[in-house]
């Protein structure tokens, strides 16, 4: 009789233990390293997971109260992150035409459709580390291009003047 009760109980406990184990696996993913493109392409899979992304700070820092939106460009794909304002140093280099941005490593929760931000795809940052500093980008003026510019400008103006003169004479 005891054996008859024990066996189903044992099976039930094993089943519960197995279920608990699978549930825990579904919730605790650890931190997954991914590129911005991988996150966007597999948004359903990474949804609400803890992720790590490394890339260049670009565009603007849009401060909203104690938080801010930043954009990180990873191999040409940009993704936005919602960070605490204090995470970003005031002298951070933000990438654009005249400057390459700081390379940062961001860890946080990835959202396919963030309930806090109207369904936007974003990352809520937990940590932000500086990997390497950005620097000004020099765009030197090419002397030969300047000469060609001025030559073409002179030719264009001369032809336009000749045309307008002809129009006036014909009238």
């Amino acid at each position: 009789m005891k054996n008859k009760v024990r066996l189903p109980l044992l099976l039930l406990l094993m089943l519960l233990a197995f279920q608990r184990n699978t549930f825990a696996q579904g919730q605790d993913h650890g931190i997954e390293k991914a590129s911005a493109l991988e996150l966007i392409d597999n948004a359903k899979i990474y949804d609400k997971h803890q992720v790590e992304i490394t890339g260049e700070l670009i565009g603007d820092v849009m401060v909203r109260g104690n938080y801010a939106w930043i954009s990180i460009s990873d191999e040409g794909t940009a993704i936005s992150a919602w960070i605490e304002k204090s995470m970003l140093p005031s002298d951070a280099n933000i990438g654009g035409y005249a400057r390459s941005g700081d390379i940062v490593r961001l860890r946080g929760t990835f959202h396919r459709a963030c309930p806090e931000h109207g369904g936007d795809l974003d990352i809520h940052a937990k940590t932000l580390e500086l990997v390497s500093q950005g620097a000004p980008v020099n765009h030197p003026v090419d002397t030969s291009r300047v000469l060609i510019s001025l030559t073409l400008l002179a030719i264009g103006v001369m032809l336009a003047v000749a045309w307008r003169r002809r129009e006036r004479n014909e009238r």
Binding site: M62, T77, H117, G119, H139, L153, G156, L159, A162
Partner: protein, 502 residues
Amino acid sequence: MKSSTRLDDIRIIVYFSGKILVGMSLIYWIPIFTALVSGEYKVMFDFILSFGLILSIGAGFTLLGKAVKRPSWTHGMVTAAVSWIMAMILAAFPNWLSGHYLSYLDCMFDVMSGLTTTGLIMIQDLDHISNGLNMWRHLLTFVGGQGIVVLALAIFVDGTGGSYGFYVGEGKDERLFPSVTHTVTSIWRISLLYLAIGTSLLWAAGIAIGLTPDRAFLHGLWVYMSAWSTGGFAPMSQSILYYHSAVYELLTFLFFMVGSFNFALHSAVIRGNRKELFRNVETLSFGTTMMMLSFIVGWALMKLKVYPGIGMLIRKGYYQLASAHTTTGFMTIYANQFANEWGNVGLVAMVVAMLIGGSACSTAGGFKGLRIGILFKAILQDTKRLLNPASAISIEKFHYHGERSLGDQQVRSAASIVLLYLVMFTAVVLATCAAGYPLMESVFEVASITGNVGLTIGVTSPSMPTILKYLYIFVMWAGRLEFMAILASIGFAASLFKRRRQ
């Protein structure tokens, strides 16, 4: 005699094409000034070089060509088609000099996409481009929305007799006033009035959402130019998602909705005739299709549980739908999210919205609401004829700046254009599938190209086959000019060939 007539025709077309290029050259000073103020001297010289080139070629054409006081309808049509191609080739030069493109073809693709207010892009590393180049991209889309021929007609008001052919050739057939010159200057006045209001509002919104005042101004100006022109270019690669702001989304939504309305409707409302807004067949047609498609998209997104709340569904679903229906192309989701998350029903609704498009004589593309309204009325009339006795006379009326009776000619004209769009759409979907892309993605992307929309599901990229790039450029051009100018050009070329053989 015959050969001298042929040469005269070509010289007249060369003359007016040159005039349009000279008109277009004047806008180069805006990016030159922007680059100067931003301290981007390399970019400034790139634009001076490009200005010199287009001015030389344009003025050279006017000297080689033959001026006439009243160009014929065919001259106008062929000039419109030719000058759009010339403008694409020449306006791509500063893009190429920027070093942000893999080939000159990619530059021309972006320029045609801008001028036709499509909004698809081939540019590399958009997030690092100069203010001068960003100004140029958005300026092209703003000017293209109004029309480059309309721009030239507005500048050279002194020599535009017989200019209706140019105007129609550029895909506009609605005259706001009896004179074409008066009409084109009014189009520009309306656009510049809205530009001032729209930029100011987006500037204020930009500062409120955390942009610095100078960045907020530039972003406001660029995004407004793109929204009003139903263009779809944005200063950053994330499009409107970049701003993460409901206010910014609401403002852009309002601007592209307004931009998709007929210029004649704007003119009527500005002159105090607000009733036209609610009675016009185009606004009724647009409202009806928008409502029906909203239900479909809403149902599809709800069924797939794409967004966790109704607020999010409205914000994301209807923004993309309105962006598609007005042929704008702004996005607040990533391109891949369409393919991976929206499902086939949602995507088909978007395809229908993109193909129908906005209003005639507006900056929008697609079949146009007017033609859909006319075809619907024609079906209604035919149904009534079937149900009524044979002796009964059925007259169908519609409101379009006054009550009008539906005539066979209007139905034929609307049906022809819609049919041409559908033939082109089908052919290019086949070509895209043949290049190896999946059917649904091909249908979505080609609807976007055909309707000059700019939403992408990921097909358009610098790595796509070269032949598809050429094909898409042709489709953007044909869709924007609504075939008339292209058919006229083919007819003109055929007549030249025929004369040569005789």
